[in-house]
């Protein structure tokens, strides 16, 4: 009789442990997956940049510094290996593109260019998707961190080698410049 009780309790404990373990792994996968969402958008943005630069150069070739910054950001983007490097390069790119769109305000012909308008909307869209993907990522990280720092997850986190993950922060300058330069013209 007692052996049966002991066995039942043991089985329940094991099932419970499996459950907690799986929960931690699921949440970890979720935020890693959320990062790949951001990555896809960053790659698409990087791919559009040469086209944009060519178009703008046709009207404002002398704004060399702006093009240089975009070029540097693009190089950093392609060279980035880790999440942190990508995030940093992405912020550089956002700032550089912000400048580029800001100067384009001074060129009415450029602003009326079909290709430019298309690229502007496309990049504004991507910028937006990055913001949403980052929000989803931070939500996922928050869930993961909560589980591994509260009972019972914290008993498992150590042996599993899981530690708190960091949020993706938005640089201060970025917050002050909400999509103003990216015109929200309906297509």
């Amino acid at each position: 009789m007692t052996t049966i009780v002991v066995l039942v309790i043991l089985a329940a404990l094991v099932l419970w442990g499996i459950n907690v373990y799986n929960r931690i792994i699921t949440l970890e996968n979720r935020y890693q997956n959320a990062w790949s969402q951001i990555d896809v958008q960053l790659k698409r943005r990087t791919d559009l940049v040469p086209n944009l630069v060519e178009t703008v150069k046709g009207y404002a070739a002398h704004e060399k510094e702006v093009f240089d910054n975009v070029g540097k950001a693009r190089a950093a983007m392609t060279a980035a290996k880790s999440v942190d490097e990508s995030a940093e390069a992405a912020n550089m790119m956002t700032a550089a593109l912000g400048r580029l769109f800001a100067i384009s305000e001074a060129y009415p012909d450029l602003k009326a260019n079909q290709n430019f308008m298309m690229l502007q909307e496309e990049l504004a869209g991507i910028e937006n998707k990055i913001a949403y993907a980052r929000q989803f990522y931070n939500d996922a990280v928050l869930q993961f961190n909560t589980v591994i720092t509260t009972i019972p997850g914290n008993f498992f986190a150590g042996p599993m080698g899981k530690t708190k993950h960091v949020y993706l922060e938005v640089p201060e300058a970025d917050k002050e410049l909400p999509q103003v330069s990216f015109g929200a013209t309906p297509a």
Binding site: G125, N128, K129, A131, A133, Q135, P178
Partner: protein
């Protein structure tokens, strides 16, 4: 841009329950809503079963189960049809056409972004050529989600407002509101159908041979009276319940939409623009009015038992308070 975790107080993850006036978390409210939904569905089935039973008592007590089964089959049949076909039907009736990436780049981009934020698969996007601003969602689960917006909506809303509306519609899909509403509507339809069949039977068949000849006359007469009362009241009651659910879920979708976009003000100002629209109203048949972002018939956004949507001003002030 986005909100870093430090800004969290701004996130409306707790909202005021319209019934009790208490602050409760969005997730709790979603769960409560889901429970209420199933209770309601159970109630509808019992109602239909009860009608079937009374029909049997009034006409032919020996065949009680036959009638109950017929009533249940009708309800289940209608619900299944709604489950599979309501989305195709809704899109066809509204005259929506699939959006294309070149023509509606803006809309496609906005929807993709919101879907990423909501963590749901990208829904299909449709456009309705109509100057009146409105939108609706359909689809039995997030994997079959579809969102339709009018050309009028795209032309008067800015990006943040459009995001709010799209997020509200996505919330309906994510909260399984569409599935529930269409199945509930189907059950109400089944009750109405049953009523018509029985009332016609009463008129033509008169009292059945059995009731006039056999002795159980008194019990049968009571059953008959109950049946007629129930047949008249049931569709009305069922409709009132359906409308109450519809209104409640609009609040929930607003709150979920605000949570997805982290921007209650975008949704609120979109609602204000729809309220102030003075152009040609959209002609929408009664059966699908409840699906829209705001009811195309302005007076059906009201604090009334017959309204499908709560008053727009009330929705706005709830969002502004988040």
């Amino acid at each position: 841009m986005t909100t870093a975790p430090a800004d969290r107080p701004r996130i409306p993850d707790a909202i005021t329950d319209p019934l009790s006036g208490r602050r409760i978390s969005l997730l709790d409210w979603q769960a409560a809503n889901r429970r209420a939904s199933w209770l309601l569905a159970g109630f509808m089935v019992l109602l239909l079963g009860g009608i079937g039973y009374l029909v049997a008592l009034a006409f032919d007590p020996g065949a009680a189960w036959t009638f109950i089964v017929i009533a249940a089959v009708m309800a289940i049949g209608q619900s299944l049809a709604a489950y599979w076909f309501s989305d195709k039907l809704a899109l066809a009736v509204s005259g929506a056409r699939p959006a294309n990436k070149d023509e509606h780049r803006y809309l496609v981009n906005v929807t993709e972004a919101v879907a990423i934020g909501a963590g749901v698969p990208m829904p299909k996007i449709y456009v309705i050529d109509n100057p009146a601003p409105n939108a609706f969602a359909t689809g039995r689960d997030p994997r079959h989600g579809a969102i339709a917006v009018t050309t009028g909506l795209m032309s008067i809303l800015d990006r943040q407002e459009l995001e709010g509306v799209v997020a509200h519609e996505m919330a309906h899909v994510k909260n399984y509101d569409i599935r529930f509403a269409s199945m509930l509507a189907a059950t109400v339809g089944a009750i109405v159908l049953l009523r018509d069949v029985i009332l016609r039977g009463l008129r033509f068949g008169g009292r059945s041979r059995r009731s006039s000849s056999s002795g159980g006359g008194r019990g049968q007469a009571i059953a008959m009276v109950l049946l007629i009362v129930l047949l008249i009241l049931a569709p009305i009651l069922a409709t009132l319940v359906r409308l109450a659910v519809s209104r409640r879920r609009e609040y929930l979708a607003d709150a979920t939409g605000a949570y997805i976009t982290r921007n209650p003000d975008g949704l609120a100002s979109a609602l204000a623009k729809l309220r102030d629209y003075r152009g040609t109203p959209m002609q929408v048949s009664e059966g699908v009015q409840h699906m829209y972002f705001t009811n195309p018939v302005a007076k059906l956004n009201a604090l009334s038992w017959l309204a499908t949507h709560p008053p727009i001003d009330d929705r706005i002030s709830r969002l502004r308070r988040m």
